[in-house]
């Protein structure tokens, strides 16, 4: 390595700190809501108004906020988990089947069927919510978690099939043929060839589907009536309607609503970041 490049690299390293500073400053403001959420969740209103910015003395932490939040939010979290997990798994299974159909052979009519899916990419979801409500009513699905699960499964189809088809088509044909020789049915081929090969893309899609289902609140707000089946979104909207706001309790509830995913995120961080990056490229 020549002296010139060495010094250039050295200069580059030295000049990294302004970038770090910029990034940290931006991230600092970006993450400020979380800081506020955490520190306020430990205060009562009085402590908060007296000292809005800094965390309270740990000896004066108001754990009662957390008890309240737990009683309020945990059932909603449980319901959200039911809906999001079911919707994600269902969506991927159904989409995998359909993608296999499109990717494996060019069957008669498959072009027309494919365009049936592609057209939907142009359909903005905004126009759909009103008639969708009528459809759910007709199917007797209002005020059930099933409605949210099925909508989650149906809503992710086009996107997932589109990506999965491309992916399955890239799998070498010999693998399928070898499996076919062994007398594997299509279902078995899907199990033995496609699924093991498409781990990363399935992971990516699963994360995206899970997040979109987890974050949904307009549909649940319209569909759900009974508080015992509320998902997080609806629960939080109802909490926001209180006249007298105990900010500590509210923030503790917010925090608690975020915790399940944060825990899972801690374990699967790499999968998440990679999945979202990949999803970002594809999307």
């Amino acid at each position: 390595m020549s002296a010139a490049t060495l010094s250039a690299a050295g200069a580059r390293r030295k000049r990294d700190w302004p970038k770090h500073l910029c990034i940290l400053a931006l991230l600092g403001i970006e993450l400020l809501p979380f800081y506020m959420m955490m520190q306020i969740s430990m205060k009562d209103n009085h402590a908060f108004f007296g000292n809005p910015w800094l965390p309270a003395n740990p000896f004066h932490w108001v754990w009662e906020n957390w008890v309240y939040a737990g009683r309020l939010i945990l059932p909603y979290v449980a319901n959200s988990i039911v809906v999001s997990v079911s919707a994600t798994v269902g969506c991927l299974v159904v989409a995998l089947l359909a993608a296999y159909f499109f990717a494996r052979y060019r069957m008669p009519g498959s072009n027309i069927l494919w365009s049936l899916f592609l057209v939907l990419m142009l359909l903005p979801s905004v126009a759909n919510i009103v008639p969708l409500f009528a459809v759910l009513k007709g199917l007797n699905l209002l005020n059930t978690l099933w409605a949210l699960i099925i909508l989650g499964v149906a809503g992710g189809q086009v996107f997932c099939i589109y990506l999965l088809r491309n992916f399955i088509e890239d799998i070498p044909k010999d693998l399928f043929e070898a499996a076919e020789m062994d007398g594997a049915t299509h279902f078995q081929q899907l199990q033995t060839v496609v699924i093991p090969m498409s781990g990363p893309i399935l992971g990516t899609l699963a994360i995206l589907q899970f997040l979109s289902s987890w974050n949904d609140y307009l549909m649940p707000l319209i569909v759900l009536r009974d508080p015992e089946i509320f998902t997080i979104g609806v629960g939080l909207i109802y909490l926001d309607g209180e006249y007298v706001k105990q900010w500590g309790r509210i923030m503790a509830s917010f925090f608690l609503a975020s915790i399940p995913l944060i825990i899972i995120f801690l374990f699967t961080m790499k999968l998440f970041v990679r999945g979202l990056s990949a999803g970002a490229v594809k999307g």
Partner: protein, 533 residues
């Protein structure tokens, strides 16, 4: 490798949570179907938007008590935030999944009432089985309410649709501890002059002690209530002058007629005097209070940032529970008739209108799967026992006669000693008048504003707004008239077919009266609009 293990743990955790959650939800659904005594379990759901402190506890207590009486019936309340109540209501009604009992008012229209709710007129005439052993045993339900159940009556549809379970009134709330610190006594102001003196004293006190404090906690909501009340004191005589027959309520069309024929305007001395009152009292709230919301004013008061707040009896329990100080409650201090400036236009303090003050009305939806139980629970709510549980736990004033008002609710019982109110500055005109006045109000209450500025800015569009509101009223009244015509026809037909049935005869009479009234209302509105110069 390490990543794989971590991923597996993460996904495993999720799977475990999922299983627990599924078991839980299945269990809940199963539990709600089976009953302890073997009978088919009935779940009654009751929706309301009373998220103030109190009512939710009261419904809890009522549900518990009712469950004791009927072990197979579980009453579950669904508290809905006020701001989404309208959407929620339409969604549930149209979706066919409304709860059995719904609070009426917010987002309700005659059409929705007629289409989705059960008429309760028959129920209103029946004695309340839950009143056995009380002085009201055998009396029709409607006669056991302080307001004759008028809160649940819909004159346009000529039917009862709901049962009102509480009363309401507007009061001035004081921070007694602060009041003692400032004035040395706990005497509440009785007249307007005393109120203003107290406000001035509070100002001085805040300046002396260097505390950030305003005399009155204001917001669009709370400030509006107080200013409106004061304005109506100045239009008492004006209202009498333009209401020829001397009836107690002056309809919008009469006010409009007066306005069109220059019997009054915002320039009238009475109205200007009312506006001056509004401006004067507004100076003792936070500047810019018209931009703040109900919770903001409430918080300011509870945090000792203000000595007083004007609000309704419905906020009393919240205020009492949230304030770390003692609360005093008094009527709004109005100018007296001998007041040197404002006395000219007023008779004196305004009485709480009796009858029209009942609120928290509940109706039964047609989609209810358990109409029998829903009716019975509604009767329970309207019984002496139910009313007592309601008022004891919510701290709200009862609407059922024979209930004991808890001590903390006594200051909110209707004050009948006083005079009838005039009309408000928003005019009973309608949304357009409201909007015009509202959007110029800053020039009346703002620090740079004045009565002159407000009047000159509003004058232009005020009349046009009255006309467009009146036109809208005429349209609505025409619709009602049309509907009542069909109703009269069908009731008359029924009455003729079953002359022996007194009920159908009575209904036909009522419908005829109603149609007559609608007809009169409509033609008068029409006349006013046509004769407008």
């Amino acid at each position: 490798m390490r990543e794989k293990i971590l991923n597996t743990i993460g996904i495993g955790l999720l799977a475990v949570c999922f299983l627990i959650a599924v078991v839980r939800i299945v269990f809940i659904r199963y539990q709600s179907k089976s009953a302890p005594d073997g009978k088919q379990r009935v779940e009654l759901r009751i929706a309301h938007w009373q998220l103030e402190n109190g009512p939710r506890d009261a419904f809890e207590a009522l549900a518990r008590e009712y469950n004791q009486l009927n072990p197979h019936v579980n009453v579950v309340q669904i508290p809905i935030p006020e701001r989404i109540y309208g959407n929620w209501l339409v969604t549930q009604l149209v979706g066919g999944t409304p709860p059995d009992l719904i609070q009426l008012g917010n987002g309700m229209t005659d059409e929705r009432l007629a289409r989705f709710f059960m008429p309760l007129s028959e129920l209103a005439d029946l004695p309340n089985p839950h009143n056995k052993g009380t002085p009201f045993e055998g009396k029709p339900l409607r006669d056991t309410f302080a307001d004759g159940m008028q809160g649940g009556y819909n004159p346009n549809l000529v039917e009862f649709y709901g049962v009102p379970i509480s009363g309401k009134s507007i009061r001035m709330f004081y921070n007694l501890d602060l009041l003692r610190q400032i004035t040395g006594s706990e005497r509440l102001p009785k007249t307007y002059d005393e109120l203003i003196a107290l406000c001035k004293r509070t100002r001085e006190y805040a300046a002396e002690k260097h505390v950030r404090m305003v005399p009155i906690a204001g917001s669009r909501y709370n400030g509006g209530i107080l200013m409106q009340a004061l304005f109506t004191s100045q239009t008492q005589k004006l209202r009498e002058r333009i209401t020829p027959t001397g009836i107690l309520i002056t309809p919008a069309s009469t006010l409009a007629d007066g306005l069109f024929h220059n019997k009054w305007s915002l320039d009238s001395p009475d109205a200007r005097s009312g506006l001056a009152l509004m401006r004067e009292v507004a100076q003792y709230m936070q500047p810019g209070f018209m931009q703040l919301l109900r919770d903001d004013a409430m918080l300011l008061f509870v945090q000792r940032g203000a000595l007083m707040i004007t609000t309704g009896s419905w906020d009393a329990t919240s205020i009492r529970q949230e304030s770390p100080f003692r609360i005093g409650v008094g009527a709004i201090p109005y100018p007296t008739a001998d007041h040197p400036v404002y006395g000219r236009f007023t008779y004196g303090s305004i009485a709480d209108a009796e009858g029209s003050s009942a609120g928290t009305v509940f109706g039964i939806t047609r989609a209810s799967k358990h109409p029998k139980e829903a009716r019975d629970f509604l009767q329970f709510l309207g019984s002496v026992r139910g009313g007592q549980i309601w008022t004891d736990n919510s701290g709200w004033i009862p609407s059922v006669m024979g209930t004991r008002t808890p001590a903390q609710a006594v200051p909110f019982l209707p004050e009948t000693n006083g005079y009838v109110a005039g009309f408000s500055y928003l005019g009973e005109g309608g949304p357009d008048v409201g909007r015009v006045v509202d959007s110029n109000l800053y020039s009346l209450v703002g620090s740079y504003g004045s009565v002159d500025q407000f009047v000159s800015e509003t004058r232009q569009s005020y009349r046009a707004a009255w006309i467009s509101d009146l036109q809208r009223n005429r349209r609505i009244q025409a619709d009602i008239l049309q509907r009542s015509d069909t109703q009269v026809a069908s009731f008359l037909w029924l009455a003729r077919k079953h002359p022996e049935n007194a009920e159908s005869q009575r209904k036909a009479d009522l419908a005829l009266q109603g149609a007559d009234a609608s007809e009169r209302t409509f033609s008068f509105t029409d006349l006013v609009l046509n004769s407008q110069p």
